[in-house]
Symmetry: C2
Subunit: 120 residues, 2 copies
DNA sequence: CAAACGCTTAGCCATTGCGCTTAGTATCTC
DNA sequence: GAGATACTAAGCGCAATGGCTAAGCGTTTG
């Protein structure tokens, strides 16, 4: 298991998931997947004011999902794949837990003849 | 590609990521990975009051990460792996974007010799 | 039947999140 | 050097989040 991830970011899962919980920020990640871009370039598709957009960038940067660098007056952003790898690692760990446990789960579902909320 | 996920839950990514952004809720997911459990059983490891804990359960249920059923006075919870699969799908889609693009990204990183605004 | 149990509802409170505007600062460009 | 450009800082408003307590409600147990 790659521990560098765990040590650095394990406690950062909060921030990473939080960062990814917003459609604007996920769209930014999507755009950056095709290569680095400047702030205004990233902001262009969105209707919101630039300072509002900047907050999203900060959230992404603080969480470690992106890295940025300023050259002159232009700040360039790039995706930081390590953060998404952390999510992938967590997902794998979860999957490892419930795999081979479908027996119990199916049993639970089979018994659920009442839809969701049993009438009182 | 399995589209049923995309159609049903694509707009639910907000809720799923939001649900996973809390350590208590991730711990619940972890516990449920080992099999279904009742509310009080799930709440036991946590210091918070039961109504506070219930809010986490509701967040998890609304997001689709878990399903619950009430038998008598006991509500049993189980993990809903489909929600985590949605996250996995999204992650894969992102990975697909930035894979084969390491050239550009490495170039960006190589140029980042300026330690002024470079986060870690 | 009464008491204990397992939630569940309602509402309070402090903090955070996400949008806005207004007003900077620091580069370019001419 | 003046003006445009590309952010950046500060602060406002409102809704949502995450904790709490107090009280209620149906179910099981003695």
């Amino acid at each position: 298991m790659i521990l560098s991830h765990m040590e650095q970011y394990q406690s950062g899962l909060d921030g990473i998931f939080q960062a990814l919980a917003d459609p604007t920020r996920r769209a930014v990640i999507g755009r950056l997947g095709r290569g680095p871009a400047s702030i205004s370039e990233l902001a262009e598709p969105f209707e919101m004011a630039l300072p509002s957009f900047m907050k999203h960038i900060h959230v992404l940067e603080r969480s470690g999902c992106i890295i940025t660098r300023k050259d002159g007056r232009v700040r360039t952003c790039a995706i930081e794949t390590a953060a998404l790898a952390i999510v992938g690692d967590w997902l794998s760990a979860q999957r490892a837990l419930w795999e081979g446990r479908t027996d119990r789960l199916e049993q639970f579902l089979a018994e659920a003849t009442d839809p969701k909320e049993t009438p009182r």
